[in-house]
């Protein structure tokens, strides 16, 4: 058993790599990638500010490099991390060891960026045509590496990689939320970590670390064990989203709450109703009730969820054109200014009220399969010898059903469990989340795709694959727990 689990677990790795590779390849080779997207945006904005509505008539073909000078292009590339080689980017997505750096080794080789000084493992200074890049292994309290970019001309802090790290010119302290720094003194001092002094005249840039004893000597082992040096999805380190300027996992975590709420409630409703209905259909096999419910669940299976969703909004939505106003149009709860005034019970009802229609649409097509599966499975078990024997012992029909038959007939239900669980999270809900404007994972992937935010898409895919494969493994283990006769060890032909 354990060797089987281990084997399955190891097989998850190639699958995960495969999924990421597919999406990476798509993002690399399909035109209209993130760089084009940002450029189009900039060109459009420029056009709009110049010619007003004329930008709308701009053909897609004309969005190439028009209006973007190479320096700006390089800046964008650096911001998106596209200045690195393809294989570097690929492995950074998967698994990668190395200090974070905004300037790629390719640029250093080509001479467009120059390594100026190298001090231990903790700091590099690069000079490119337009900026100095100072890379400090640790400059912030959360221990992640960061990069500061200084303008060569003015010596001003231009940008940082992730967060805006800026320093108050008076105190030298790091401050948050400042949009622009007008004057950076030659001496910047951060309370907790490091002190940096530089002169920005030509090559005579001087970088001095005052706390040499801490950072100068990072031994190979220390560098290797420093978590900040490791990257890649396989360590659950997510890239930064291009459009949202946030780490992908934060975005996913935010959206996961809504998706889970929808998914879990549909899941519970589906399984409860299907098992109840399936068992009662099996008990009443062949009666009018049986036939009628069969037709009912089949019709439900036939109706596509998203088509029903549009219809429900039309029929019962809040607009003046609907027939009866029963359900809200969008969102998972009322806007905060209303929601916060509600009582606890009111809040609960508000959530339920918003979820009724989406949950109906999510579950409607899943009743048929599960109900029939339960019914057939119960019927099959009813005629097994052990059930006959139990009846012969004088047990009541109800006891036979509940104590003996039910447990065995639930085995086939376990099979569908993981697939359905993941499906609830994603597959069906992209359309439904879009129609009801629910900020779930499906909508996140959709907008990421429309905006070509490939790091976000790949992170999403990784999460889905991971959850999916784990669920599949869990269901196999579930098999063994439910039915000890099953063994995965034997010959698998």
């Amino acid at each position: 058993m354990w060797s089987y689990i281990l084997k399955r677990f190891l097989l998850m790795i190639p699958t995960g790599i495969g999924v990421i590779t597919v999406f990476f390849a798509v993002s690399e080779f399909v035109p209209g990638g993130p760089l084009d997207q940002v450029e189009t945006m900039i060109v459009d904005q420029a056009n709009q500010s110049e010619a007003g509505d004329m930008a709308n008539f701009g053909d897609e073909d004309s969005t190439g490099t028009v209006g973007i000078d190479p320096q700006m292009r390089m800046q964008i590339k650096r911001k998106l991390g596209l200045n690195h080689d393809v294989w570097v980017r690929y492995f950074r997505m998967l698994l990668w060891y190395g200090q974070d750096s905004m300037v790629s080794s390719k640029e250093v080789d080509q001479g467009s960026a120059r390594k100026l000084s190298f001090r231990g493992d903790s700091m590099w200074v690069y000079r490119t045509a337009d900026d100095y890049h100072v890379f400090v292994n640790e400059c912030q309290t959360d221990g992640e590496s960061s990069q500061l970019t200084f303008s060569q001309e003015t010596g001003h802090l231009v940008s940082t990689l992730d967060r805006t790290v800026q320093f108050n010119p008076e105190t030298g302290r790091q401050i948050d939320g400042v949009q622009q720094l007008t004057r950076v003194p030659s001496r910047v001092k951060s309370e907790s970590f490091w002190e940096l002094e530089y002169l920005a005249n030509g090559d005579r840039l001087k970088v001095r670390e005052t706390r040499d004893e801490v950072y100068l000597e990072e031994s190979a082992w220390a560098a290797l064990t420093n978590g900040a040096n490791w990257h890649g999805l396989f360590l659950f380190k997510f890239p930064t989203s291009i459009t949202k300027n946030k780490k992908c996992y934060e975005l996913i975590r935010e959206r996961l709450r809504i998706s889970m709420r929808l998914g879990i409630s549909s899941f519970i409703i589906t399984y409860t109703l299907c098992i109840l209905l399936g068992v009662s259909k099996a008990v009443r096999n062949g009666t009018v009730f049986d036939t009628a419910t069969s037709v009912l669940v089949l019709v439900g299976y036939g109706i596509p969820g998203f088509v029903l969703a549009v219809f429900l909004i039309k029929a019962f939505g809040p607009s003046a054109d609907s027939w009866v106003s029963l359900i809200p149009l969008r969102g998972i709860q009322s806007p905060p200014e209303i929601y916060n005034t509600l009582s606890t019970w009111g809040k609960f009802w508000d959530n339920v009220h918003h979820m009724i229609a989406p949950v109906i649409c999510l579950t409607i097509s899943s009743f048929a399969g599960l109900t029939m599966l339960t019914k057939n499975s119960v019927l099959e078990q009813f005629h097994q010898l052990y059930a006959v024997a139990a009846r012969a012992r004088g047990l009541s029909e109800r006891k036979v059903l509940l104590k003996h038959v039910l447990r065995n007939s639930l085995i086939p239900l376990v099979t569908g469990f993981p697939a359905r669980f993941v499906m609830m999270f994603f597959a069906g809900s992209l359309l439904i989340e879009k129609i009801f404007s629910l900020d779930g994972l499906g909508l996140l992937s959709f907008t990421a795709l429309v905006e070509r935010d490939y790091p976000l898409i790949i992170s999403n895919m990784f999460i889905f694959t991971f959850i999916g494969l784990t669920c599949r493994l869990l269901s196999d283990i579930g098999y063994v727990i439910v039915d000890p006769r099953i063994s995965f060890e034997g010959k698998k032909t």
């Binding site: 035109p31 089949l298 036939g302 596509p304 549009v310 607009s319 054109d321 992209l430 494969l469």
Partner: protein, 397 residues
């Protein structure tokens, strides 16, 4: 080709299932009804006779010269004023006077002029389709106040009484582009069904081949194939289709049909996994059975064993899957269209109509018929599929 008695027995069993059999009959009827949609819903006459000559505008494009006029201008609309003038013999007024007002047409330079033939009314007879609107024509008569989003019944809007579009034979009104809803529904129904059936067939074939190879050879081939299926299956279908379809539209396949074909190809890429998994299981089980071993020991080639011996014995999942495969294919297409990643616009599409219905909630004549068409199509397919499964799958008795 003769069918085995077992197969015929199952067909008989299917026919006995009244719900499924009637659904199949209704579906076939609807399909046959919508098949000649060009002859039923079109903005061109089926047959017309001008000055003793026969023309077939539904099947061919004509210019005014073909019809006996002078100008090499294609006939865009057979209902426009220009065509009426041509028939009534007001050709000179209509074309030339409009331009120069003196009956002459400047050809090369200011002095050249062409004598326009004496205006003669032409003998004209035409057989029109019952509904004179096609899925892409947006001609409506001038009497209709508002051509876009016209309700079939007259209604009050902003204090103005608008006439019902059904008087213009827009039986279900018009959509937001001024196109006939019923025509788009009928054409869209036909296209969806054709697309779904074709996709189901091709993806079944692909799935069978890939699954058969995996199951038959087993071992490393199976392991690799399994991983491939898993990877491909782990990616949500709609998302992958959206990326690929977006890629297509950027590449700019110019014609409607070309785009549709490319869409068909990419949808094939994402729809073979279910079938492949089932066939793999079938072949994996069958390859150790005696008849396969016997065939192999007689020196029958692998391909022959796979497709002449095992496949005919594994037909059950193929037949059982087919209706569900059709309905899921149709749904994928509708979903893509709904999101705007599907068929290019003027082509008739149920998903596009649905999204219009969502956008214009007041236009119930778009929403309700589309909803009914889609759900009844899906429910009928489900009933057929259920019947087929009951008849063919030995586990469902």
């Amino acid at each position: 080709m003769s069918f085995s008695p077992e197969f015929l027995d199952r067909v008989r069993k299917f026919k006995k299932n009244r719900r499924a059999y009637n659904s199949l009959r209704i579906l076939t009827f609807l399909f046959l009804l919508t098949l000649p949609a060009e002859l039923l819903f079109n903005n061109r006459p089926i047959v017309m006779r001008v000055d003793g000559q026969w023309f077939f505008p539904v099947f061919r494009d004509y210019t005014y010269k073909d019809l006996g006029g002078d100008e090499e201008i294609p006939v865009v609309s057979y209902k426009a004023e220009m065509f009426d003038d041509f028939i009534a013999g007001r050709e000179a007024d209509a074309v030339s006077d409009l331009l120069f007002g003196d009956g002459s047409v400047a050809v090369d330079g200011p002095t050249a002029s062409v004598d326009v033939r004496e205006a003669v009314p032409r003998a004209f007879w035409a057989l029109w389709p019952p509904i004179p609107h096609s899925y892409k024509s947006f001609y409506t008569s001038k009497t209709l106040e508002r051509q876009r989003l016209a309700s079939p019944f007259s209604r009050e809007e902003g204090g103005v009484r608008l006439p019902g579009a059904r008087m213009e034979r827009h039986l279900l009104g018009t959509d937001s582009y001024g196109k006939d809803v019923l025509a788009r529904l009928v054409y869209g129904f036909r296209l969806s069904l054709l697309f779904g059936v074709a996709l189901a067939f091709t993806s079944t074939v692909i799935g069978c081949v890939l699954g058969a190879i995996q199951g038959f050879f087993g071992g490393l081939v199976d392991l690799l194939g399994q991983r491939l299926t898993e990877i491909w299956g782990a990616i949500p279908r709609l998302l992958l289709l959206m990326i690929l379809s977006d890629f297509l539209s950027r590449r700019g396949e110019s014609t409607e049909a070309g785009h549709l074909l490319m869409l068909f190809v990419i949808m094939n890429l994402t729809s073979w996994m279910g079938m492949a998994a089932h066939m793999r299981a079938q072949f994996l089980a069958a390859r150790n059975l005696d008849y396969v071993k016997a065939a192999k020991s007689l020196g029958v080639s692998n391909v022959r064993v796979m497709f002449r011996h095992i496949l005919p014995n594994s037909l059950t999942p193929i037949v059982t899957f087919l209706p569900f495969s059709i309905s899921s294919s149709i749904l994928a297409l509708v979903g893509l269209d709904f999101l705007g990643f599907g068929i290019r616009y003027p082509a008739p599409s149920l998903g596009e109509l649905l999204s219009q219905g969502q956008e214009h909630l007041d236009a119930w004549w778009i929403m309700v018929p589309t909803f009914l068409t889609l759900t009844s199509l899906m429910v009928l397919l489900t009933f057929v599929g259920d019947g087929v499964r009951n008849a063919f799958d030995p586990r469902y008795k």
